[in-house]
């Protein structure tokens, strides 16, 4: 059976399921609420944030613009999106096992490896569509509401200014990177769904792993420092690297620059390896699995 047919069928199933749209609704609602909050009370919030800068700098223009809004939304939401990803990816096999449709599926002339790859591609497409949906709400609608201007990002020790003309490609890259990070979550949840007969288990297990790894990341202990570079959670926020710009000797931003491109690429590589690893492990496990559901 051709892989493309399996992908088509799996996508059809995903988008016929009501639970799929919970994620889209949740993102639209949360982003909408953040935008509404900033639209109503954003000015005082920005004044407070800019207090320390106003003594040293003369800041003009539309600071609270769509680009900054998208950055704030991305930073806030990307912590919660894994749950929405796991909601579908964690259901891909376990949901079928729970419904009993897995055994009916496997009475058809579909190779087990192709079924896994097809399901994985379908869940990946869902993840990318969800990220695209988030990009539309976080970026396009924010620009529509708040307009576009240079972007100021405040960090603990510095303020980065990115020219408006140099921002959009960074968002495209950042959303691409975020998609890779979410694909890693999707692949993990998908792998865990092989071992369960209802989707609650894989969803909870995925979130637990992310929480435990994130806690390990925050603990500055030598034993944990050794493993941190290998944990996918250490690299999931690598998208922020696209907003770290290089400045020249005149303290001006170099257009199109990324301060630490190797670090961004390394993070992307680690995430990619995790995705491939989880996929291969899924194929290996599923090929030998007795279907008892």
């Amino acid at each position: 059976m051709r892989l493309i047919s399996i992908v088509y069928i799996e996508l059809y199933k995903i988008f016929r399921k009501p639970r799929t749209y919970i994620s889209f609704g949740a993102i639209a609602a949360i982003v909408g609420l953040i935008q509404l909050g900033f639209y109503a009370d954003g000015e005082s919030y920005m004044k407070f944030g800019m207090q320390s800068l106003s003594d040293s700098f003369d800041v003009n223009g539309n600071i609270m613009n769509g680009y900054l809004m998208a950055f704030i939304i991305l930073q806030t939401l990307l912590v919660h999106v894994p749950l929405l990803i796991a909601l579908v990816a964690g259901d891909m096999i376990s949901g079928e096992a729970n419904q009993g449709t897995l055994r009916l599926l496997l009475t058809k002339p579909v190779s087990r490896a192709n079924l896994i790859i097809g399901k994985f591609i379908a869940s990946s497409i869902y993840t990318i569509v969800l990220l695209f949906w988030m990009a539309v709400w976080a970026l396009a609608i924010s620009i529509f509401i708040f307009g576009a201007d240079d972007m100021l990002i405040m960090k603990s020790d510095m303020v980065t200014q990115i020219l408006a003309s140099d921002v959009m490609w960074r968002y495209v890259a950042a959303f691409g990177f975020a998609a890779l990070a979410m694909l890693t979550v999707s692949a993990l949840s998908f792998f865990l769904s092989l071992f369960a007969e209802n989707s609650i288990g894989p969803i909870m297990a995925t979130m637990s792993i992310i929480i435990v790894f994130t806690i390990l990341n925050t603990l500055d202990l030598p034993i944990f420092n050794m493993v941190k570079p290998y944990l996918f959670t250490s690299h999931m926020l690598g998208w922020k690297g696209f907003f770290d710009v290089t400045i020249n000797e005149n303290n001006e931003q170099i257009i199109g620059s990324i301060e630490n491109l190797p670090a961004v690429l390394l993070s992307a590589g680690v995430l990619f390896l995790h995705v491939i690893g989880f996929l291969f492990a899924s194929i290996l496990v599923f090929r030998r699995k007795d279907i008892l559901s």
Binding site: S5, I6, Q99, T101, R103, L106, T107, P109, I291, L292
Partner: protein, 304 residues
């Protein structure tokens, strides 16, 4: 032989679900696969369909090993394993269409509808499966098994959970597929009365082991009957029969009843014999169907 099972064994840890089972199904026949609940029927069917791996033994379908030629074989096999679970959020038509696409054959919309018509669901094709009755789900499951026009159809307990009308519908469908479309079918059930009405041959298994295999009309000999007698003094009756010409047919049984294998024309003679010995007969039941045979086998009382 279209399907050949040879020395099939499946163990889960120390528990052996299927134990050295062998049987074969000829092309064009309806083959009954009988056993009580938990006898190992579904485990065997899952191995036939490559859903689970055998611990030992081999399965050949159309002369090919299911282990090596799984996809090639499954193109020609349609199956429903245990209850037909379907996508509840899809309509009957959508469900059938999804499984038709997975069958690796080009199946048109008209063919999908024709299949729904065959199982009597064409008028309910656009209804979501979640509102279907158990019987409708069962029929849709059979439609999933039939949609790609397979040569071998495997139905695992197809009448489970159905009302009498539903059972009759499924039985008629099996007979129609066998007689009119010449399909080879393996039908499992724990009800001998069901298999008796549709199967040409059968195998009976118990605790994973084969008890008997053969033609249904040979295993069901109408001349041989088993009498179940309940009297006012069963131990005395057992002693009496043990010391008479009926001794050969006397079977081990609990004290609440006496079991005797005999022939149909000897039943009045036995009744007369007991009455002559002043035994009060509360009940005398003659079982000459396959069910008596099955019950005797599975309860450990062997029949000649």
């Amino acid at each position: 032989m279209l399907l050949e099972i040879s020395h099939l064994t499946k163990s889960f840890g120390s528990f052996t679900a299927v134990d050295d089972l062998s049987f074969s199904v000829k092309e064009g026949e309806v083959y009954g696969f009988l056993g009580q609940n938990g006898a190992g029927k579904s485990t065997t069917i899952r191995m036939i369909l490559s859903l689970i791996r055998p611990t030992k033994g081999s399965i050949n379908i159309f002369g090919m090993s299911i282990e090596k030629e799984r996809e090639k074989i499954l193109q020609q096999v349609g199956a429903v394993v245990e209850k037909p679970d379907l996508y509840r959020y899809m309509t009957g038509y959508e469900n059938l269409n999804v499984f038709a696409r997975l069958s690796n054959k080009h199946i048109s919309k008209a063919e999908v509808m024709k299949c729904l018509e065959l199982v009597g669901l064409d008028k309910r094709a656009k209804d979501p499966v979640r509102v279907y009755s158990q019987g409708m789900k069962q029929r849709l499951g059979i439609a999933v098994a039939l949609v790609h026009n397979p040569s071998l159809i495997i139905l695992d307990e197809p009448t489970n959970g159905l009302d009498p009308q539903g059972i009759a519908d499924i039985r008629n469908l099996i007979l129609m597929l066998s007689k009119e479309q010449k399909k080879t079918m393996l039908v499992s059930s724990h009800l001998l009365s069901e298999i008796e009405q549709v199967a040409d041959s059968m195998v009976i298994i118990n605790k994973g082991k084969k008890l008997v295999e053969g033609k249904v009309n040979e295993l069901l000999n109408p001349d041989k009957v088993q009498l179940e007698i309940i009297t006012d003094n069963n131990p005395l009756v057992k002693d009496l029969l043990a010391n008479s010409g009926w001794a050969k047919g006397l079977r081990n049984s609990p004290d609440q009843k006496v079991l005797v294998d005999t022939t149909a024309d000897a039943v009045p003679l036995l009744a007369k014999y007991l009455v002559e010995h002043q035994i009060g007969i509360s009940s005398l039941r003659s079982m000459n169907s396959l069910e008596a045979y099955f019950l005797s086998l599975t309860s450990g009382n062997e029949v000649d």
